[in-house]
């Protein structure tokens, strides 16, 4: 089974721009998909102006919305 690791920035800017909302989306995912998603937090991905930032497979994605996050997870798992 394929796994994906999401690294969420929880620094000031990303927190205020919606990092907690992105985390909440993970809880709404179907259990079979959620079980394939590993998460970790970091305090800064050094793109504070473009938050919220999420690093997936070494690539930093900026201005991530909940919809975009779901898309990214699907892409990584497909």
């Amino acid at each position: 089974m394929k796994n994906v690791t999401l690294e969420f920035c929880v620094g000031t800017a990303c927190h205020m721009k919606g990092a907690p909302e992105l985390l909440a989306v993970l809880d709404l995912m179907p259990p079979e998909i959620r079980s394939q998603v590993q998460i970790s937090f970091t305090h800064c991905l050094e793109k504070c102006g473009d938050g919220p930032n999420v690093r997936i497979g070494g690539v930093v994605y900026s201005s991530v919305t909940p919809e975009r996050l779901i898309e990214l997870v699907k892409q990584q798992l497909s």
């Binding site: 929880v10 620094g11 000031t12 800017a13 927190h15 205020m16 721009k17 990092a19 907690p20 985390l23 998460i39 970790s40 937090f41 970091t42 305090h43 800064c44 504070c48 102006g49 938050g51």
Partner: protein, 384 residues
């Protein structure tokens, strides 16, 4: 050796009463910690007003180093006596701990205050004398580091009377549940919570009287060093981190994501962020070797100020382990705090601070410093 004490308070109102008739006040001056516990006669608003009056008179006078006899006579002369019951409207216990380890206790019609050393009750000689017609019990104790002191109101000693226990919990009953008061609880707050839990259990969860518990643990003075914000000149990164690490006898705190990354880089350590969002208003804590607390910056400092303000105005810290509460507790329980403040500003925060009406880092620090100074905590702010 200088000594001070951590103080933990737990309180509960009589069943169906919204306001607690007991009032607890802790006053810290540079060389003294004073705890005043007052129990207003009866319960509810009237009891609270009388108890508040007692603690306010006592704390106001003691802060100005008025001799204790004058304090007691002022309280005794001011407080009325209940016409029906012939009793004073409020009882009190006053404990003064000096930084040389000498403690003085004054009790007026209050339950016995317990002193514990190495988990055993410390025998304390008590004298009684009459001040303004009131029988005051006095005691002097020479305290040591790790001694524990427990003050309770009569609601705790009489817990369960006529309900689950014919004669109530009693002092012996309370001690029975505390076989290891010095070694079992890491903080006095937990001990106070435990004693309150015992009282609640005896009352079958419906308190028959207002209950207050104050626990103190004697300790050496604590110093806290807080590094927050990157220096204006990146070449000073090592200087600011070394200034933090040089405070070997201090609790070390780093506030800010970029600041934490700087410390991580200079120390060659690995920064790990907790996965637990304890309070959605504040980003989670992180961990760095040799650093006691790592938090986010501006949001945590602003929330920390709100919590300090709450406690300064008579409230209590939340029983939560979010970053801001942890930071606020560290600062509030310190005797000396050094802030190492980097003046570099993250432009990405400008809009957010404006929209959220957050105080920028340096202003948040200055507001925190003002509150700490009001509590007689020595502070030093160094800018980089």
């Amino acid at each position: 050796m200088r000594l001070t004490a951590d103080v933990g308070v737990a309180r509960g109102s009589k069943h169906k009463e919204e306001i607690c008739g007991d009032v607890v006040q802790v006053v810290r001056t540079p060389h003294k910690t004073t705890v005043i516990v007052s129990d207003g006669l009866g319960s509810g608003v009237k009891a609270n007003i009388m108890a508040t009056l007692t603690t306010r008179i006592a704390s106001g006078l003691l802060e100005r180093d008025v001799p204790i006899d004058h304090v007691i006579s002022t309280i005794a002369d001011t407080l009325p006596t209940c016409r029906q019951r012939g009793l004073a409207y409020a009882t009190f216990s006053i404990l003064q701990l000096r930084d040389d380890g000498n403690a003085k206790l004054y009790e007026y019609d209050a339950p016995t205050t317990f002193f514990f050393r190495n988990d055993a009750v410390l025998p304390v000689a008590r004298d009684t004398r009459i001040v303004c017609g009131k029988k005051i019990v006095e005691a002097s104790v020479r305290l040591q580091e790790d001694d524990v002191i427990l003050l309770v109101t009569d609601g705790v000693v009489h817990a369960g009377v006529g309900q689950s226990l014919d004669l109530g919990l009693g002092e012996e009953g309370l001690l029975h549940f505390l076989p290891t008061p010095c070694s079992s609880w890491s903080t006095p707050e937990l001990l106070a919570d435990f004693v309150m839990h015992i009282a609640r259990s005896c009352y079958c969860d419906c308190l028959g009287d207002d209950c207050s518990v104050v626990a103190l643990r004697v300790r050496q003075p604590r110093k806290v060093a807080v590094l927050t914000g990157p220096p204006l000149d990146p070449d000073k990164d090592t200087v600011i981190v070394n200034a933090l690490l040089a405070a070997t006898d201090a609790v070390k705190v780093v506030c800010g994501g970029t600041s934490a990354k700087i410390v991580e880089r200079v120390m060659g350590a690995k920064l790990e962020t907790s996965l637990e969002y304890v309070d959605p208003r504040v980003p989670p804590v992180a961990y760095l070797p040799s650093i006691d607390l790592v938090t986010e910056g501006v949001l945590t400092l602003n929330r920390c100020y709100d919590l300090l303000r709450l406690v300064h105005d008579g409230g209590e810290f939340p029983r939560s382990a979010d970053a801001a509460t942890l930071l606020a507790r560290q600062l509030w329980s310190a005797e000396e705090v050094v802030f190492l403040v980097g003046k570099s500003f993250n432009l990405a925060h400008a809009n957010i601070e404006e929209i959220m009406q957050l105080a920028p880092r340096q202003y948040a620090i200055s507001r925190i410093v003002t509150l700490l100074n009001r509590r007689s905590i020595r502070t030093e702010v160094r800018y980089f």
